[in-house]
């Protein structure tokens, strides 16, 4: 029985706002749109896994408590890359390894949104990721907020509308009916057979035909059919990305030993080849720096983390700029929590609360958003919580998502997020 898997569904009564036609369009429409010079809007979700110590990334280098509370971890004021002062007149600097992000910031294409979080922020990695993924602290077991967005796209939705660059499915992309293919490596994304020639072709034909018999009466099994179908339907287009080499564009240099940069190269390749993908997911880990965090040492753990994101994002930025795709792209980062302000006995930092989100792209209004925490240990310090142990949130992360939904994805954030989280001062895009 051949079944049409997709049906138009409106999400939580919020209605579906007018989408530009390219969002869910099959490949040929998007290529047509590109040929006509139409802009598309790509969203790249970046997850910094483990809980990013944003106080080491965006540093209040004139705050004496920063130094007294982090005797082995603080970056000397003379080494930070100064990015000016925020609305509360706190002078801030980027981690010294973030020279590329500093360039992008100076070009006005990087927004740093300070003290993002939510009330009673979870210090659990897993619950935290679920909350950031669903945008629902009250019930974090549901679908991902990006997955819900994809579910609300008018059908038919292309099988490659999303591209997850990891091998497993992140919660943020979990959807009811829009499986996002996981394509960790475009070159390994191919159909194998024990035979060759006509026999192999017959096998692939059979696999495709079998996958069309979705057992709708067995939803758990049907889910696996969806994965098989998704793989078989996207193999050929993905193969065109496998040959993409960012070095063709001259200044883009994706370091070979940086897996995060390589994932971004595949993302850029998908955009350049115009295969129709609009939502991408990339991640880089190692941020759970409980011990030996080594922020300052050039071979240290956190220094390396900064190198990974800096080199990846800079190559991606340059590549997209050279390809004329920068204005079509928004990168949005999140992490499950920031870290404790005072360092622990292991020269590391334990799980904390509010953190910094980044938004990067050709249409981003760069700069510093929100205000930095004052790190004074006074328990009444309003910018801190947990007896001045953690950074208190100032901007609900859902307000950031709302801005992206309303002003970038062209959907209704109230419907997508289930409530009005709009905050007009967050005009980063």
């Amino acid at each position: 029985m051949k079944v049409t898997r997709r049906q138009f569904v409106t999400f939580t009564g919020g209605g579906v706002a007018a989408f530009t036609m390219t969002y869910a369009a099959p490949e040929f429409i998007s290529q047509l749109a590109l040929a006509q010079g139409a802009h598309v809007r790509n969203l790249v979700i970046l997850y910094l896994s483990g809980g990013n110590d944003s106080l080491s990334m965006l540093i209040p280098y004139n705050d004496p408590f920063y130094y007294s509370r982090r005797p082995t971890l603080a970056v000397p004021a003379g080494q930070v890359l100064q990015v000016g002062t925020d609305a509360s007149r706190v002078a801030l600097g980027l981690h010294p390894r973030l020279t590329g992000l500093k360039q992008i910031f100076d070009q006005g294409r990087l927004a740093l949104i300070q003290r993002t979080g939510y009330p009673n922020q979870s210090r659990s990695h897993f619950e935290g990721v679920d909350i950031w993924s669903t945008a629902n602290p009250a019930n974090a077991a549901g679908l991902g907020w990006v997955g819900r967005y994809l579910d609300a796209l008018p059908s038919p939705v292309d099988a490659l509308v999303g591209w997850n660059t990891t091998a497993s499915m992140p919660h943020v992309l979990q959807s009811a009916q829009t499986p996002v293919p996981a394509i960790a490596s475009p070159s390994g994304y191919a159909f194998s057979s024990p035979n060759s020639g006509a026999e192999a072709t017959a096998e692939r034909t059979s696999a495709v035909r079998i996958a069309s018999h979705v057992p709708v009466d067995r939803p758990e099994l049907a889910f696996v059919y969806g994965s098989t179908q998704g793989a078989l339907a996207t193999l050929d287009r993905v193969a065109t990305v496998a040959t993409y080499d960012g070095s063709l564009t001259g200044t883009a240099n994706y370091p070979a030993n940086n897996g995060f940069a390589q994932a971004l190269k595949a993302v850029a390749g998908a955009m350049v080849r115009g295969i129709g993908t609009r939502v991408f997911y990339v991640t880089t880990g190692g941020f759970d720096t409980h011990s030996a965090q080594n922020v300052v040492q050039t071979n240290g753990a956190y220094y390396g983390l900064m190198g990974t994101i800096n080199d990846g994002l800079l190559a991606f930025y340059n590549d997209l700029r050279n390809q004329g795709l920068l204005d079509d792209t928004l990168v949005l980062s999140f992490s499950e929590f920031g870290r404790r302000i005072s360092e622990n006995g292991s020269s590391g930092t334990d799980h904390g609360s509010a953190s910094v989100m980044m938004a990067m792209g050709g249409r981003v209004n760069g700069g510093l958003y929100g205000t930095a925490p004052n790190l004074n240990t006074d328990p009444k310090n309003p910018t801190l919580e947990n007896a001045a142990g953690d950074v208190a949130f100032e901007t609900d992360f859902r307000s950031v998502y709302a801005r992206v939904a309303d002003n970038w994805l062209g959907t209704d954030s109230v419907g997508l997020l289930g409530a009005n989280f709009r905050k007009s001062s967050l005009a980063f895009v």
Binding site: R123, F191, I210, V224
Partner: protein
């Protein structure tokens, strides 16, 4: 089937099965196959024969009382007739993590104690500890050692974490928890080695509650801080010299924080939530008291029962709360005896409910080992399974983080599913001649449909819809007239095995 006859009952006794009266035939014996898909990773032909002669209760007892079976599976490594291993130099699973991965896969295929290996896999997920962090801290050799070494092969007598868990696979949960808290690999993995009096380290204190025992929602942030102080001073020391030099647990009283610690849940039998202030010399008792309290907490009982239900009974739909409570009661009443828990679970009506057959998404390791058992292993080296497993999303000794792997649907991203299909192709390629010989020996090559019927019996899947069976039949007829020649059996047999073991239905167990 009698499982259905029992289905209406509500009495406690009805959760158990009566002995199976008859043995059905090999490869159609649904009971044995179901039992071994769950209590093991599928069944080799000799396992089907062995368990097929038993009643269900006998089979469950044989699986649970595995210490009665004395075969040393490791002694079979390198012997003819078994799956191969491929080592860069001398095979050294004690010091080379890739060799350790091969050894575990070999054990999973060839063990005569399938439930011991299955539970070890369960505990590896539950107490998920990753090699990379250890290797970064201690070097690659030592990183492998504290996860995988057997005391009998280690000059210092080190028992790696997974060997400890294998030895305790159906042991007492409080003992397992105590051993994990003292385990050198865990002490590095969750930073216990840096937990000091002046600067308590929260990582282990948090996860022992969130992931190992009571679960989210049953502890508070102050509990985390208190637990960190409880375990301050739990550390390692290096003893011995030369090859025998190794790390061993030590309680370092000088680094123990001695003030009282109060929790949001009872610590002692009288309901007291406070661990009293103790002199540093006796402060290790703090941790033992907390472990005792956590092991006996009813939330731990339910958390474990739910996790076991999902691993052994069904991942589809919510678990029956009454059943979870009944398993939790056995856990508590038996004094945390996992043998009693598993005997109860494997004899339960829920386990045998036909509605729960094929109601789990296989883990990559389960899928891969089962495929080897079904398709064949002669001439196959388990080393060639390591990259495919990584592509499917499961590398042994390298769970993605302390919460283990993301299970169920999360195993089935498109690339992970493609990796399963491609492993099915790889194995069918490797076994092409064996597949054809097997079909020929069974006289299954007379027609496309006899071949299809044969391999549907050999590779048991969740039921295939008639439309799917018709597609497979079409495939067998696709490239020319049927002759049943050896060449055709190789081509079509391997293609069919690829399609069947790479099917969605085969991924359910």
């Amino acid at each position: 089937m009698h499982t259905q006859q029992n289905a209406a009952g509500g009495r406690r006794d009805d959760y158990r099965l009566s002995p199976r009266e008859t043995r059905i035939t090999r490869r159609s014996d649904r009971h044995v196959e179901h039992l071994l898909r769950r209590a093991g990773c599928g069944a080799r032909p000799d396992e089907l024969d062995f368990y097929g002669d038993m009643s269900i209760a006998e089979a469950v007892d044989t699986l649970v009382d595995f210490d009665q079976i004395n075969t040393d599976v490791d002694s079979l490594i390198g012997q003819p007739g078994y799956a191969g291993i491929t080592a860069g130099g001398a095979f050294s699973p004690r010091t080379v993590i890739g060799d350790a991965r091969q050894r575990w896969l070999f054990r999973l295929v060839h063990t005569d104690r399938p439930l011991q290996e299955k539970m070890t896999l369960f505990w590896h997920h539950h107490f998920a500890t990753g090699y990379n962090k250890l290797a970064n801290a201690l070097g690659t050799t030592e990183g492998a050692r504290y996860l995988t070494a057997k005391p009998s092969e280690d000059p210092g007598g080190v028992r790696g974490q997974l060997e400890m868990l294998r030895g305790n696979a159906l042991g007492n949960f409080r003992d397992i928890l105590t051993a994990i808290a003292k385990d050198p690999a865990m002490l590095y993995w969750l930073d216990g080695v840096t937990n000091t009096k002046a600067r308590p380290q929260e990582n282990f204190g948090r996860e022992i509650m969130e992931l190992f025992t009571v679960g989210v929602g049953h502890y508070t942030e102050p509990d985390v801080y208190a637990a960190a102080r409880v375990f301050s001073g739990w550390n390692v020391q290096r003893i011995g010299s030369g090859d025998a030099a190794h790390l061993e647990f030590i309680y370092n009283a000088a680094q123990h924080e001695t003030t009282a610690k109060t929790f949001s849940f009872p610590i002692y039998a009288d309901g007291t939530p406070t661990i009293p202030s103790r002199a540093a010399a006796g402060g290790m008792q703090d941790g033992l008291d907390l472990i005792n309290a956590l092991a006996g907490n009813p939330n731990t009982a339910r958390y474990l029962a739910t996790k076991l239900y999902r691993f052994f009974v069904s991942e589809f739909g919510a678990p029956d709360p009454a059943f979870v409570n009944s398993i939790a009661s056995v856990y508590l009443q038996s004094g945390y005896d996992m043998k009693a828990v598993m005997r109860e679970l494997l004899n339960s009506r829920q386990f045998w409910d036909p509605g729960n057959a094929f109601a789990r998404y296989s883990w990559p390791v389960e899928f891969l080992v089962r495929a080897l058992k079904d398709v064949g292993w002669t001439g196959f080296s388990v080393s060639s399974a390591l990259t495919p497993l990584a592509n499917m999303g499961q590398t042994l000794y390298e769970p993605p983080d302390v919460s283990g792997w993301r299970l169920g649907k999360a195993w089935f991203s498109t690339s992970a599913m493609l990796a399963r299909m491609n492993f099915a192709a790889q194995l069918a390629t490797n076994q092409k001649f064996n597949i054809a010989a097997r079909a020929k020996a069974a006289a299954a090559g007379q027609s496309p449909d006899t071949l299809l019927a044969f391999f549907q019996r050999e590779l048991v899947t969740a039921p295939l819809d008639s439309g799917v069976v018709a597609e497979l039949s079409t495939y067998l007829r696709a490239t020319g007239a049927w002759t049943g020649s050896d060449a055709q059996l190789q081509a079509k047999g391997s293609g069919l095995v690829h399609l069947l073991s790479g099917s969605a239905e085969y991924q359910l167990v």
